[in-house]
Subunit: 332 residues, 2 copies
């Protein structure tokens, strides 16, 4: 498969220009292009330029407003509501994260409930942004139904990702960002596109039978939750936190409301920030390093996020599928 | 195996008298006996009277103070520290939960960090206590090493449970309480005691080989995390939240500090409470019921906590192993 070398800056510009050409104002195009280009910078193909045709489809269908201005409502000093006003999530996050961080630094804990936003990216940008300020970040969101609850054969949950970041002074944070599905939807999509089989236990076909065919999972089948009934319970918690607690669509509601243009559904996102300095006290950094350094030095351990942080350091071009680059250029 | 019928009140009295005879003051004996008897009421054998000999061992060894008076420190209006002063967790929770609930009702979110406490019970009592007040509860804790991180063969995590409760007006809450180990330590202990085999994937023996022998897992082996690397990431988060953020022992530290008397190690616990009424608004109840009622009516679904809530309704005696009843009486 032919690939095109692009620097992170070139990826940003490719995304920015494409978004501007499809109705985004400068602020929305810049925030979303940054999200897309940092995903490619970190080696996350499934959340990089791969997402751009979907964003464009939703801008063109009118589902997403390219000129949305997010508005903040401070419900209490610790609880912040943010209305995305039907825009893409990156700008909403750019507005909301600093307000959340400020509240958590003052009160030890704070929550940001984002409504009427269209999230189509990874969650680590928001939790890492908090960790960079010495805060613990927990973020979760919902989308449209793709995952069967444990025991069931029909899609009801989305892949319901959760990200957690713990700050490590002077180091990259400990961070994970994972679908509570056995496999992220973007990765199933890439397997289907490339004709690669799935591992067993990832999905069911349209008849409810186990399958390793990614296309069968996407065409009327379902993804399974990770970790059986326990993973299914975590997914339920994420639905309740990112929809019930936020006051926006559960996955089943987002699926009913969505116009199926291939872009991001409207939904909510919940982010909690906590201050280890305030809650644990000044020793928190050395104390948690004792744990994390022992963990990462155990035989057989791979720390989540590590490969991404290593990829980030490279100043070399990233290799993007030429077909995708050409498709995005054709949309500009 | 011979069993003895005891009413919930008789179970409470058996536990209370035994704790009083072993150095507990009235407040600590009453709180802990309530925790033990409500576990038996709900059919949770592994957190009921089964725990009492361990409590007694720790009171007798002097590890746990039977007359501890928990002290509350309001770090900020939203962040509360609670020092268990080396006592058992039930009294600390009785003191801390109302302060946490008050803060969450005022601010939308609040956190309770419990230190120097000895937790030896389920976590649902604390999250359900919050749900009874219309709040969402999230609780997690750590203990001593029993679980190998994904990829490793040595114990480093404890079974690191997490409980989540979502209030359902007029109904029992949606609540789960699960070890992030593939199986709870108490349940592995009961399988070993009764000579029952474990399911595959639960544990490794002392040589790091997979085994279904519960005794081999407990004697030098390790339990595995649920859900592979994703479950292991959740367990890491729980270590960081309940030890790093609280400022008390990580599991590896608790293991080093513990006197191995068979009772609960000293450790921390983190509890977060959130107000759906404040964050989502007045519609939160009907909105989340739309989700939960669809979920529980899907084919093949079993809701967590449901069996426990059904057991709770019975006014009949509970059947306790006679050997255990006699052992507890001999400790009184």
């Amino acid at each position: 498969m032919s690939k095109t070398p692009l620097t992170v800056e070139q990826i940003y510009t490719l995304a920015y220009d494409c978004l501007r050409a499809n109705g985004c104002d400068d602020a929305n195009a810049a925030a979303t292009a940054k999200t897309v280009s940092t995903a490619e910078r970190d080696g996350s193909e499934s959340h990089g330029l791969y997402r751009l045709p979907g964003y464009v489809a939703s801008l063109r269908s009118g589902k997403v407003a390219g000129n949305a201005v997010p508005t903040v409502e401070q419900v209490t000093p610790a609880a912040i509501r943010l209305d995305g006003n039907n825009g893409m999530a990156p700008l909403a996050l750019e507005v909301g994260i600093p307000v959340l961080a400020e509240a958590a630094k003052a009160l030890g804990i704070a929550v940001l409930a984002i409504r009427k936003s269209h999230h189509f990216a990874a969650l680590w940008p928001e939790t890492e942004a908090l960790a960079e300020q010495g805060l613990v970040g927990i973020a979760c969101t919902a989308h449209t139904p793709m995952v069967a609850p444990y025991g069931a054969k029909k899609a009801f949950f989305s892949t319901n990702p959760i990200s957690f970041a713990w700050p490590r002074p002077g180091k990259d944070p400990y961070v994970f960002d994972m679908a509570t599905a056995a496999k992220a939807h973007g990765d199933v999509g890439i397997a289907a596109r490339d004709g690669h089989p799935l591992e067993p236990g990832i999905g069911l076909d349209a008849e409810g039978n186990p399958t390793t065919d990614a296309a069968a999972v996407l065409n009327g089948g379902v993804i399974l939750p990770f970790g059986g009934y326990k993973g299914s319970a975590i997914a339920t918690m994420i639905e309740l936190l990112s929809a019930g607690l936020v006051g926006d669509h559960f996955s089943y509601e987002a699926g009913e409301a969505d116009n199926k243009d291939g872009g991001p559904a409207q939904g909510g996102q919940l982010i909690i920030a906590l201050s280890p300095k305030l809650i644990a006290g000044d020793d928190w950094g050395a104390h948690s390093e004792g744990f994390l350094s022992r963990l990462e030095n155990m035989d057989g351990i791979r720390m989540p996020g590590k490969r991404r942080h290593q990829n980030r350091l490279s100043t070399e071009p990233r290799f993007i599928k030429t077909e995708l680059v050409e498709k995005i250029r054709s949309l500009t």
